[in-house]
């Protein structure tokens, strides 16, 4: 296909010129939205793989419906009949899962696997017979396995859209009940909600979405539409309402984009492209999601590391000047003693280069002044900052000594770890426990501190 053809196809797509394109896009969008909504609840209830089971369990229903109706006038591969068959056997499969987990000690995952494989096997058995029937041809039943969005007929699309719309409406109407069922089924039961009925309705809705999607995107890829959008949305939010809306949006977007791409490039299967678009959204969310994304946790870790480093620097500087400057609070900024960077580096065994970069960052935030390099002077705000860091450190040290029975020579290391994460409440609590409330002074260190100007190896 050359560029001209692509542009031509793209233009026809964007203007929705073809009736067929319109039908396919609308059908796909509604299906994606419905799957995104139901999938959110399934994911939160840890039943993501239900759609996998339903879509496999639907096969015997589809084939049985075909075999029964094949002899009817105008029967055979009539979509409503096949979907009804799929719906019945899908629901029967879910009922079996429920019975197995209820009446044996088989876990849910194994029950799902059993129903999936046995029902699908039964479907294959029926298919083996259907293919040898004299009335009607079974050929084409396998489009249910691979899907064929592009060749969706207008009638089929409206049927799908109608069913998907029912799912969306029921789900929104029962949103409050579904939320309670999802997060605290026990509480819902205590509130007098018909939990079993709601559970049944929810399962029926999932089965319905799955079954109508089978025709559009195929057996395997329907599972993707129910699992990937909510999993991707989960990286962005902790709120159910937002999650459901976002998941519906991702599902709709993936379905429309995938169907459109497949319309522009005719040799690509629409179902597969829809899934790949959704997968792309998932990867973007996995990396960039604002609630649980990987990038966010990396940034947070780096930020924490930076804060810890700064606090170590400030504490070293403060402890270096502490003996020379007992009345720090009242002193003007120019009277704050200076510390030699080389001595500090030797004492803390920081490579000079690393110390320099730490100092530059601190100078940017106006915690220290480097005007007299290599002499370092804490600024007024820097001094106050340093004081609070040292105070937290020592409060924790004293706490460990007096309440956790840890030897004075061992507390420094432990305090090092915790001092960075002490919140205001914790500090108040520590002051109360150590009977230091109201005192703003920095407590004495419980262990000797190596002096900087001496330049000796302190630790």
């Amino acid at each position: 296909m050359d560029t001209g053809e692509v542009i031509d196809a793209l233009a026809r797509l964007l203007t929705l010129a073809d009736h067929n394109t319109r039908v396919v896009l609308i059908g796909a969008a509604i299906l994606g939205v419905a799957a995104g909504i139901m999938g959110s609840f399934m994911m939160l209830r840890r039943r993501a793989m239900i759609s996998d089971v339903v879509s496999h369990a639907a096969l015997p229903g589809i084939v049985a419906a075909f075999m029964i109706t094949a002899g009817w006038p105008g029967g055979g591969k009539h979509l409503p009949h096949l979907l009804a068959g799929a719906l019945i056997s899908g629901l029967a499969g879910m009922a079996c899962v429920h019975l197995i987990t209820r009446y044996s000690r088989i876990k849910e995952d194994a029950a799902l696997g059993i129903v999936l494989s046995v029902f699908f096997g039964f479907g294959v058995v029926l298919m083996g017979m259907a293919q040898r029937m004299r009335t009607g041809s079974a050929a084409g039943l396998d489009t249910f396995i691979y899907g064929k969005t592009a060749s969706m007929l207008a009638g089929d699309a409206w049927l799908m859209a109608g069913a998907a719309l029912v799912v969306v409406v029921v789900c929104l109407a029962l949103f409050k009940e579904f939320r309670l069922l999802t997060f605290d089924a026990e509480f819902a039961r205590a509130q007098g909600m018909p939990v079993h009925v709601l559970d049944g309705v929810m399962t029926a809705l999932v089965v319905m979405v799955t079954v109508i999607g089978l025709q559009a995107v195929g057996l395997i890829l329907m599972i993707a539409l129910l699992i990937i959008p909510p999993s991707a949305a989960r990286f962005w939010t902790d709120r159910l309402g937002v999650l459901v809306a976002l998941s519906a949006a991702i599902g709709g977007f993936g379905a429309v984009t995938g169907a459109a791409l497949s319309a522009v490039f005719p040799s690509t299967p629409a179902g597969a492209v829809i899934v790949l678009v959704c997968a792309m959204v998932f990867v973007i969310s996995l990396v960039g999601g604002t609630r649980r994304g990987l990038a966010r946790s990396v940034v947070r870790r780096l930020r924490l590391a930076g804060r810890m480093e700064r606090q170590h620097l400030l504490r070293s500087l403060y402890e270096a000047i502490e003996p020379e400057c007992p009345d720090i609070a009242a002193a003007p900024e120019s009277s704050i003693p200076m510390v030699n960077a080389h001595d500090l580096a030797t004492l803390r065994r920081w490579p000079l280069r690393r110390l320099q970069s730490m100092l530059r960052a601190a100078a940017r935030d106006r915690d220290v002044s480097l005007d007299a390099w290599p002499l370092i002077r804490l600024t007024g705000p820097g001094l106050r900052h340093a004081r609070s860091v040292v105070r937290n450190h020592r409060l924790w040290e004293w706490y460990l000594i007096s309440h956790a029975d840890i030897a004075a020579s061992h507390v420094d290391r432990d305090a090092d770890e915790i001092e960075h994460v002490l919140g205001e409440d914790m500090v108040v609590e520590l002051e109360r426990t150590l009977a230091l409330a109201g005192e703003r002074a920095v407590p004495e260190s419980p262990h000797p501190i190596a002096a900087v100007p001496a330049g000796e190896d302190g630790r």
């Binding site: 696997g113 039964f122 058995v125 298919m127 990937i228 997968a279």
Partner: protein, 435 residues
């Protein structure tokens, strides 16, 4: 039905393949990852496509290697997304295998111009045709599918035999395994490698539905049949073999009843496995549904019998005169609170020779009945004594509790209660505790 050598080979192939799958399937079921087999069997598609495209031939080796790699990728990405992205495990698996499958579909369709590749033919081998494709192993001519199945079965048996203890501990309790110095994650990937190799090698020859079913169903059935891992594994092998044999027989006989010649053997084997599972679920001697119902019924009857004996004992205490046994009506009045069918119970007691008909429709205890009745009342009153003395419960609150406990008191417990009663011979209500 005509049975030929082909049928024998089909059954033999089905049996070794099913056994190979069931062997690793046990550990998937224990780890609650039953659907991993299904996921892997779909996710191998891009690996197969890549194997074709890179090697440019239909030679089985690069395709096999590509498929196993894709299978391992499924396990790896699932675990990685689950751990790093804090996505629930089954969701992570769903995301990974559907995406890989979609990728494979697109690759195959895009590549269709250059290579002749039919996903249906690649994914779903047919066990019916497998005997026609033969190889010679050690001078014997056998179907290639049988040789593959046997090889995979031996491979799984050897690896699992070598690392039995490690597999066992990491499957049941990965934290404990790590604490014991067993590399839990490495064992996970070793297991996943076995699953991937088994899945790919088998479905290429016998079809994926058989593989998925045999990974889960026999192992799940075996977990009902026994609770000891060693026996569970043996049972799963037996169930797998039985399902395979029964499945093929059913595939060539049952359709005949409805006017068809035969049907898919792999499908029928999966259905047969479902039948075996249902049978075990219902009829297993200990954990089976019927056994549990029977057990519950027996317990209920014992409780009713003992309660009746207790009432008869108390009647005798109140009316010690010889021949002062209650009639049916009086006894029914005593038992009114417990919703039992008194005449039926008395008939049962008579069958057990615990009571005998006395004069004028009286119900009299036999010697054995008297002993058991005394024992029930003794346990009841010992419990009342204990609950009041040791648990400091008020005397008017202990009857109902003792009524339950009296049915589950064994001789050892009785001795302890006796000791705790410290020689007291009446219960908190002043009634005598029988000796």
């Amino acid at each position: 039905m005509t049975w030929t050598t082909l049928d024998t080979w089909i059954v033999a192939t089905g049996m070794v393949t099913a056994a190979a799958c069931a062997l690793v399937g046990n550990f998937l079921v224990i780890r609650r990852m039953s659907l991993m087999g299904d996921a892997i069997s779909h996710a191998v598609l891009p690996g197969i496509a890549a194997g074709f495209l890179l090697s440019g031939t239909r030679h089985p080796l690069p395709v096999f290697a590509g498929a196993v790699m894709a299978g391992l990728c499924t396990a790896f990405f699932t675990e990685w997304i689950h751990r790093k992205g804090r996505v629930e495990e089954s969701s992570a698996m769903g995301v990974v295998f559907t995406s890989l499958f979609a990728l494979g579909l697109v690759m195959i369709v895009r590549a269709a111009d250059t290579v002749d590749l039919d996903p249906g033919c690649v994914l779903y081998g047919s066990i019916e045709l497998s005997p026609l494709d033969t190889v010679a192993v050690a001078g014997l001519t056998m179907p290639r599918a049988f040789a593959t199945g046997l090889f995979v079965l031996l491979l799984n048996a050897v690896v699992i035999g070598l690392f039995y203890k490690e597999f066992k501990i990491t499957s049941f309790d990965p934290e404990l395994a790590t604490a014991l110095g067993i590399p839990a994650r490495r064992m996970y990937y070793l297991l996943m490698t076995l699953v991937a190799v088994t899945t790919v090698a088998s479905f290429e020859t016998v079809g994926s539905i058989l593989v998925i079913a045999m990974l889960i169903v026999p192992a799940a059935a075996a977990s009902i049949a026994s609770v000891r891992l060693g026996r569970v594994i043996l049972w799963s092998l037996v169930f797998a073999a039985v399902s395979a044999a029964a499945g093929h027989v059913a595939a060539i006989t049952v359709p005949g009843w409805f006017g068809f010649i035969d049907t898919s053997t792999s499908g029928a084997m999966a259905v047969a496995a479902g039948g075996v599972f249902t049978g075990v679920l219902l009829f297993a001697p200990e954990q089976g549904l019927l056994a549990r119902i029977r057990h519950q019924r027996a317990l209920k009857i014992r409780v009713e019998v003992e309660d009746t004996l207790g009432q008869l004992h108390r009647w005798h205490e109140e009316y010690p005169a010889p021949g002062g046994a209650p009639g049916m009506v009086e006894l029914a009045g005593r038992m009114a609170g417990s919703h039992v069918d008194t005449p039926r119970l008395v008939a049962r007691l008579r069958r057990l020779r615990l009571v005998k008909p006395g004069g004028t429709d009286r119900i009299e205890l036999t010697e054995e009945g008297r002993e058991r009745a005394a024992s029930v009342v003794r346990d009841h009153r010992l419990w009342e004594r204990y609950l009041v003395d040791k648990m400091k419960l008020p005397a008017d609150h202990v009857h109902a509790t003792s009524e339950q406990l009296e049915h589950v008191t064994d001789p050892g417990l009785r001795r302890e209660l006796r000791k705790a009663a410290a020689g007291a011979d009446v219960d908190p209500h002043g009634k005598r505790i029988p000796d």
